[in-house]
C-alpha cells in the first residue's frame, strides 16, 4: 500500500536508499553517504540513522491534521510494504547463492580425495626409482674410470702418431714446397719434442725434425736470396723464417738488401717519371708495407718482444728508404733537367704531379720520413727551373721576332706599301710578344692548378706566384726587353752601325707602348691569374714603367743621333771633298741637298707611322703655310734677305753675333719628346750643325759662297715644315751662310732672285 503511494519518481531514490541501508548493514561506509549522514542528523528523518520514532510521532501529531495524518499513515504503510518485499527478494537471492556454494564445496571435497590417492601412488613409484638408480650407479662405478683412461690413451696415441709421422710429413711438405704448412706443423710439435727430448725415441724424432727444418730454413733462405721472387713471396719467406726463430736483425738486413737489389734494378731501367712512379715507388711502397707488417707491426711474442725489434727495424727502414729515395731523386732530377723543351708544359706538370702524389703514399706509410719533403723540393726546383727556361725561351723568342722584324725592315720596300709596314710590324711584334707571354703564363699556371697535388704547398701558393712567376718571369722579361733595347743604343754605331734606325724607332715605340699600357696590363693579368699575394716586396708597376720609358727615350734619342749622323756624314763628305775655291758659278742645287731633303722626308714618313705629330710653335698653323707660300714669292723674301746677302763679312759676323745674343741658345742635342716633330727637329739640328762645322773649316771662293747660298736656300724651302720651330732652321742656315761668307776670299754674294730661280728650277 505504501508502495502505491510512492510517487513514480521516487523509485530510484528508494532503491538507492535500500542499497545504502544494506551497505550500512554490512558495515560498508562509502564516501558518498557522508552527505546523507550529515543531512540525516535530524531525528525526524525517517531514513536517517538517528531516527527517533517517538519524536517523529509527536511531531507528526503536533503538526498535522487528522487528514494529513491519515495520508501519512497510508503512505507509511505503503512504504513499509515495499520494503518488506525488497527484503524478501534479497533473502531469497542470498539463499540461492548459499545453496550453489554448498554444492561446489561438496564437489571439491570429492576431487581432492581422488588427488590424494594419486599422490600416494606417485610417491611410492619415486621411492622405487630411487632405489633402482642407486643400485645401477653402484654397479657402473668401475667401468667409467676405465673408459676415461682409455679415451686419454687414445688422444695421446694420436699425438704420438702425429709426432712419429712428423718427419715424414715435413719431408713431404718440403717436397711440395708447402713451407707454411711445414712450419706450422713443426711449431705445434716443437714444444712437446722439447719437453720429452730426454726420451730416446722422441729425441730421434726431434733430431729428424731439426734436420728437416734446417733443410727447410736453408731452402727458405735460398729462396730469400734468389732474386726472382716477388715481394709477396719474399715477405712470406721472411714470415716463415721469423717463425723459425731466425735472428730478426739479420733478416731485416737481408730483406732490405734484397729489396734494394730489386728496386735498384728498377732504377737502372728508370727512364721516365711515369715508369718511376708506377714501378719504383709502388714497389717501394710494397716493400715498406710488407716490412712494417713483418717487423714492426706484428704482435710481439715471447722472447722476440724483449729484443725491441720494431725500433731497430724502423731505423733500418728509414735508412734504407732514404738511400734509395736519394738515388731515385737524383735520377728524377736528372731526367727533369733533360726536359728542356718548353713546348708542352702540361706533360711535365702531370709527371711532377704523379711523382708527388706517389710520394705522398710513402708519407702515409712512413710518417717520419724525409722523402716526401725532398720530393717536394724537387718539384719546387723543377718549377723554378721551368720558369727560368720559360724566361730564356721568351728572350729567344723576342730576339727571333726582332730578327724577323729586322729582316722585314731590310727587305726591299715595295713602293708605299712597304713603308706602312713598320706600323703593322709594330702591332704584330707586340701582339706576338704578348701572345707568347700569355701562353707561357698559361703553361706556368698549370703548376698551380687545383687538381695538382703540390699546388697547395705553401711555395706554390706564395713564393712561386710572386717571386717566381711575377718577378722571375714577367718582370724579368719586361726588364730584359728594356735592357736589350738599351743595348741596341750602346752597340750600334760603334762598328758599322749594326742596328737599322727603323728598328730603333720601332723598339722605342714598343717600349713607349709598354710604358703606357702593356706593362700594367701584363702585371694585372699575372696577378689575377695567379692570385698573387705579395708577401715579399715586388717590383712596382711604376718602376717598370719608368724603366720602359727610359728605354724608349734612350732609343729615340739614339735614333735621332743615328739618323742625324747619317745625314751629317753625307753633308760632311760633300763639303770636304769639294774644292770650294775653284768651283764654278752655281747653276743648280747640289744633288746632296736634294738627297738630304729626300732622306728627311722619308724619315718624316717613317716616324709619322709610329709617332704622333706633336706640337709646333705658332708657325705650324695655317699661317705657316701662308708664310711658306709668300716665302716662295719673291717680294716677301726681303724678310730673310739680309743674312743671305751680306754686304761685308764683318757685317755678317756682327749680325750673327747680335742674332746669337737675342735668339735662344740652341742645344744641339736636347732629349727628344715622343712625337714626330721633336724627332725631326733633333735630326735636322744635328745635320745643320754639321754643315756649319764643315763650312767653318773650309776656305771658299766667290762661287763657293754662292753655291752655299743656293744650297741653304733650298734647304730652307723644304726643311722648315719638319721642325717645331722654323726659326731654328733659319738661324742655323743663316749661320752657315754667314760662316761661309766669313771664310770666303772674295765674298760677293749672289742676288736673292737668282738664288730663288735656281732653287725653284732644281
Amino acid at each position: 500500500m505504501s508502495s502505491a503511494t510512492t510517487p513514480p519518481d521516487s523509485d530510484p531514490t528508494g532503491r538507492r536508499r535500500v542499497h545504502s541501508m544494506l551497505k550500512l548493514y554490512y558495515g560498508l561506509n562509502e564516501e558518498g553517504t557522508a552527505a546523507e549522514q550529515a543531512e540525516s542528523l535530524d531525528p525526524c528523518d525517517i531514513n536517517g540513522p538517528h531516527f527517533d520514532p517517538e519524536v517523529y510521532l509527536n511531531k507528526l501529531r503536533k503538526d498535522c491534521s487528522l487528514c494529513e495524518l491519515m495520508d501519512h499513515e497510508s503512505c507509511m504503510v505503503k512504504q513499509i510494504r515495499s520494503l518488506d518485499s525488497d527484503m524478501q527478494t534479497l533473502v531469497y537471492e542470498n539463499y540461492n547463492k548459499f545453496i550453489s556454494a554448498t554444492d561446489t564445496i561438496r564437489k571439491m571435497k570429492n576431487d581432492f580425495k581422488k588427488m590424494e590417492d594419486e599422490m600416494d601412488c606417485l610417491s611410492a613409484n619415486m621411492a622405487a626409482i630411487t632405489e633402482f638408480s642407486a643400485r645401477i650407479s653402484g654397479t657402473l662405478q668401475d667401468q667409467h674410470a676405465q673408459i676415461t683412461k682409455l679415451s686419454g690413451v687414445h688422444t695421446l696415441l694420436r699425438k704420438l702418431q702425429f709426432l712419429f709421422e712428423l718427419p715424414a710429413r715435413l719431408n713431404k711438405c718440403l717436397e711440395l714446397q708447402a713451407y707454411a704448412q711445414a712450419v706450422s706443423a713443426h711449431r705445434r710439435a716443437r714444444c712437446v719434442l722439447q719437453q720429452y727430448s730426454h726420451m730416446p725415441s722422441f729425441r730421434g724424432i726431434q733430431d729428424d725434425c731439426h734436420v728437416i727444418m734446417e733443410q727447410l730454413a736453408q731452402q727458405l733462405r735460398q729462396k730469400f736470396r734468389d732474386g726472382g721472387s716477388s715481394a709477396k713471396d719474399l715477405s712470406e719467406c721472411v714470415e716463415l723464417l721469423l717463425q723459425l726463430d731466425e735472428p730478426a736483425e739479420e733478416l731485416c738486413d737481408k730483406f732490405l738488401s734484397h729489396a734494394q737489389s730489386r728496386l735498384e734494378a728498377d732504377l737502372q731501367g728508370l727512364e721516365f717519371i711515369d715508369r718511376g712512379c708506377n714501378e719504383f715507388v709502388s714497389s717501394l711502397c710494397l716493400v715498406i708495407a710488407s716490412y712494417q707488417e713483418l717487423f714492426i707491426n706484428r704482435p710481439q711474442e715471447g722472447e722476440l718482444a724483449s729484443k725491441n725489434i720494431p725500433e731497430m727495424a724502423n731505423g733500418k727502414l728509414h735508412v734504407f728508404v732514404d738511400t734509395l729515395a736519394a738515388r731515385y731523386f737524383s735520377l728524377v732530377e736528372r731526367r727533369i733537367q733533360e726536359e728542356k723543351g718548353v713546348g708542352d708544359n702540361s706533360l711535365l706538370v702531370r709527371a711532377l704531379d704523379r711523382f708527388h702524389r706517389r710520394l705522398q703514399a710513402i708519407t702515409k706509410l712512413l710518417p717520419g720520413s724525409a722523402v716526401p719533403s725532398h720530393g717536394t723540393e724537387i718539384v719546387v726546383r723543377a718549377a723554378r727551373e721551368r720558369i727560368k727556361q720559360y724566361l730564356s725561351a721568351l728572350q729567344t723568342f723576342y730576339h727571333d721576332s726582332l730578327t724577323d722584324v729586322r729582316q722585314a725592315l731590310a727587305a726591299p720596300r715595295l713602293a708605299v706599301g712597304g713603308a706602312s709596314a713598320s706600323g703593322e710590324l709594330l702591332t704584330s711584334l707586340s701582339n706576338f710578344i704578348l701572345n707568347q707571354l700569355k701562353s707561357v703564363l698559361a703553361s706556368v699556371h698549370l703548376f698551380t692548378a687545383k687538381d695538382i697535388t703540390f699546388s697547395n704547398k705553401p711555395y706554390f701558393k706564395g713564393e712561386f706566384c710572386s717571386q717566381g712567376v711575377r718577378e722571375g718571369l714577367v718582370v724579368s722579361f719586361i726588364k730584359f726587353i728594356c735592357q736589350s733595347s738599351r743595348q741596341y743604343c750602346e752597340s750600334a754605331g760603334d762598328r758599322g752601325g749594326s742596328t737599322p734606325p727603323a728598328l730603333l724607332l720601332l723598339l722605342s715605340r714598343l717600349c713607349l707602348d709598354y710604358e703606357t699600357s702593356t706593362i700594367s696590363y701584363i702585371l694585372t693579368l699575372t696577378d689575377e691569374q695567379f692570385l698573387v699575394q705579395h708577401h715579399t716586396p715586388v717590383t712596382p708597376v711604376t718602376a717598370l714603367c719608368a724603366e720602359a720609358r727610359e728605354a724608349a727615350q734612350k732609343l729615340l734619342n739614339h735614333y735621332v743621333k743615328v739618323q742625324g749622323l747619317i745625314i751629317s756624314q753625307m753633308l760632311r763628305k760633300s763639303v770636304e771633298t769639294r774644292d770650294w775655291v775653284n768651283t764654278i758659278e752655281p747653276r743648280n742645287v747640289r744633288a746632296v741637298m736634294k738627297r738630304v731633303v729626300e732622306d728627311t722626308t722619308s724619315i718624316d714618313v717613317q716616324v709619322g707611322l709610329l709617332y704622333e705629330e706633336g706640337v709646333r710653335k705658332a708657325h705650324s698653323s695655317d699661317s705657316s703655310k701662308r708664310t711658306f707660300s709668300v716665302y716662295s714669292s719673291s717680294r716677301q723674301q726681303i724678310r730673310y734677305a739680309p743674312s743671305y746677302t751680306p754686304s761685308a763679312p764683318m757685317d755678317t759676323n756682327l749680325l750673327s753675333n747680335i742674332h746669337k745674343l737675342f735668339s735662344e741658345r740652341i742645344d744641339i742635342f736636347s732629349p727628344v719628346e715622343f712625337n714626330k716633330v721633336s724627332v725631326l727637329t733633333g735630326i735636322i739640328k744635328i745635320s745643320l750643325k754639321t754643315f756649319l762645322e764643315c763650312v767653318r773649316i773650309r776656305t771658299f771662293g766667290r762661287y763657293g759662297l754662292q753655291q752655299i747660298q743656293v744650297d741653304c736656300h733650298y734647304l730652307q724651302m723644304y726643311l722648315w715644315r719638319f721642325v717645331s720651330d722654323e726659326n731654328l732652321v733659319h738661324f742655323l742656315l743663316d749661320e752657315i751662310v754667314g760662316s761661309a761668307a766669313h771664310r770666303c776670299l772674295d765674298p760677293s754674294p749672289m742676288e736673292q732672285s737668282v738664288i730663288e730661280v735656281i732653287c725653284e728650277r732644281g
Binding site: G493, D494, R495, G496, G497, K561, L565, S568, Q569, R572, T577, V581, N582, P649, K660, R665, D667, I668, F669, I686, K689, T690, L692, E693, R696, I697, T699, G701, E735, S739, H742, R743, C744, L745
Partner: protein, 358 residues
C-alpha cells in the same frame, strides 16, 4: 784668388789653334794662333797669373797666313811651329814652319795692352818644313821631352820626320812613311807618344787610328773603325804608356789599350755633337778635357782607368796651394786652369797648361 770669376780674354780674330807652351814650366802660358783671311794673323801669348787671377798677353805678328795648328818646342820656349794656310793662284795650301819669337816680346808684353796691338813684333822665321811635294800639313808634332831637334809633320797621307839643325834654321827629312790605300787618305790628327823613348806615333785618318814605329817608320797597329765617323783628336795618357784617348764625329770619347785594340777600354758619350779635341791633364791622368761643337767642354774624372785607380785622387798639396777642401771646388778651379777657345759658339781646342801643377 777669386775662384768664381772666369777669366776671359777676347781676340780680334777667330782662332782655332791653341797650345800650352811645353817648355815653359814657371808660368801658365798658352799660345793662340788666329785665323783671318783678310788681315795679318797673330799669335797671342797668354800668361795666366793664378795668384791674381789675371791674364797677361803679348801679341806677335804671323804674316804668313791663317794658323790652323800651333805647337811649341819642348826644349826652347821661344821656338814654335805653326801650320798655316797660304792662298796662291786660287789654291789653298797648308804649310808648316818653325818660328822663333823675338827676344824682346817679353819686355813688350808688360806694356799696356793697347800698345801690343799698335806695335806688334813679328815672328822670326827659322825654316820651312817644305811640303810642296806632300800636300797640306795637318799638324806638326814636336818630340815630347826631346831636345827640340826633331819634329814630325803630317801631310795628307805622309808622315814626315824632320831633323832640325843649326839652331832649327835648317830642316831635313830624315825619314818618311806613307799611308797607302784606296781612296783619298788623309791624316786628320796625330800624337807623338811620350812613352817608349819617343819612338811611337799615333795618327788618325778618317775612322781609323794607326800606331807607327818611328825607328822603322812602319805601322805597328791599326784600329779600324775606332769611331763611327771621323776621328778628330788623340791624346796619350801621360802616365800609362799603352793608354790612349780618342774622340770624333760620332760624339764619343774612347779610351784604348793599344795592346788590345778590338774593344775600347771605355767609351764616353756625353757630347751631342762632334768632339773636336781631347786632352789629358799632364799630372793627373784621371782628368780629361773634351771639347765639342755642341758648345760644351767636359771635364771628366776617369779614376778607374787612370794610373791611380784606387784613390788619392786629389792630393791637396798637388792641386794648388790655396784650395778649399771640397773636391768639387777643386774641379771648378781646375777647370779654370785651361784655356779654351770659343769660336763661333763652338769649342775647338783647349789645353791643359803644362805648367800648371809643376
Amino acid at each position: 784668388m777669386d775662384d768664381d770669376a772666369p777669366v776671359i780674354y777676347g781676340l780680334e780674330f777667330q782662332a782655332r789653334a791653341l797650345t800650352a807652351q811645353t817648355a815653359e814650366t814657371d808660368a801658365i802660358r798658352f799660345l793662340v794662333g788666329t785665323q783671318s783671311l783678310k788681315f795679318d794673323n797673330q799669335i797671342h801669348i797668354i800668361d795666366f797669373d793664378d795668384e791674381n787671377n789675371m791674364i797677361n798677353k803679348s801679341v806677335l805678328l804671323h804674316d804668313a797666313g791663317e794658323i790652323w795648328h800651333i805647337s811649341g818646342s819642348p826644349a826652347d820656349k821661344a821656338v814654335l811651329t805653326t801650320c798655316y794656310s797660304k792662298t796662291s793662284e786660287n789654291r789653298v795650301l797648308t804649310c808648316a814652319a818653325v818660328w822663333r819669337m823675338p827676344p824682346e816680346w817679353e819686355s813688350g808684353s808688360h806694356e799696356s795692352p793697347d800698345d801690343s796691338s799698335n806695335n806688334p813684333q813679328t815672328l822670326e822665321l827659322l825654316c820651312h818644313l817644305d811640303n810642296t811635294a806632300h800636300g797640306s800639313v795637318a799638324c806638326v808634332l814636336w818630340e815630347p821631352l826631346g831636345d827640340g831637334k826633331r819634329v814630325i809633320s803630317l801631310a795628307e797621307n805622309h808622315v814626315l820626320l824632320w831633323d832640325l839643325q843649326e839652331s832649327s834654321t835648317k830642316a831635313t827629312i830624315s825619314s818618311t812613311a806613307t799611308l797607302e790605300g784606296k781612296g783619298q787618305l788623309k791624316f786628320t790628327a796625330g800624337k807623338w807618344s811620350p812613352h817608349h823613348n819617343s819612338t811611337q806615333l799615333v795618327t788618325a785618318n778618317d775612322t781609323a787610328i794607326r800606331g807607327w814605329d818611328l825607328r822603322s817608320m812602319s805601322q805597328i797597329y791599326c784600329i779600324e773603325n775606332a769611331h763611327g765617323q771621323l776621328v778628330r783628336d788623340l791624346d796619350f795618357n801621360p802616365n800609362k804608356q799603352y793608354y790612349l784617348a780618342s774622340c770624333g764625329d760620332d760624339c764619343k770619347v774612347k779610351f784604348w789599350d793599344v795592346r788590345h785594340i778590338n774593344e775600347p777600354v771605355k767609351c764616353l758619350e756625353e757630347h751631342s755633337h762632334w768632339v773636336w779635341s781631347v786632352r789629358y791633364n799632364h799630372s793627373h791622368d784621371q782628368l780629361l778635357l773634351t771639347g765639342s761643337s755642341d758648345s760644351r767642354v767636359i771635364l771628366s774624372n776617369m779614376v778607374s782607368i787612370s794610373s791611380e785607380p784606387f784613390g788619392h785622387l786629389v792630393d791637396d798639396d798637388d792641386l794648388s796651394d790655396n784650395e778649399e777642401n771640397q773636391q768639387e771646388d777643386k774641379y771648378t778651379s781646375l777647370s779654370l786652369m785651361y784655356l779654351r777657345l770659343v769660336q763661333y759658339n763652338s769649342i775647338h781646342f783647349h789645353h791643359f797648361s803644362s805648367a800648371q801643377f809643376s
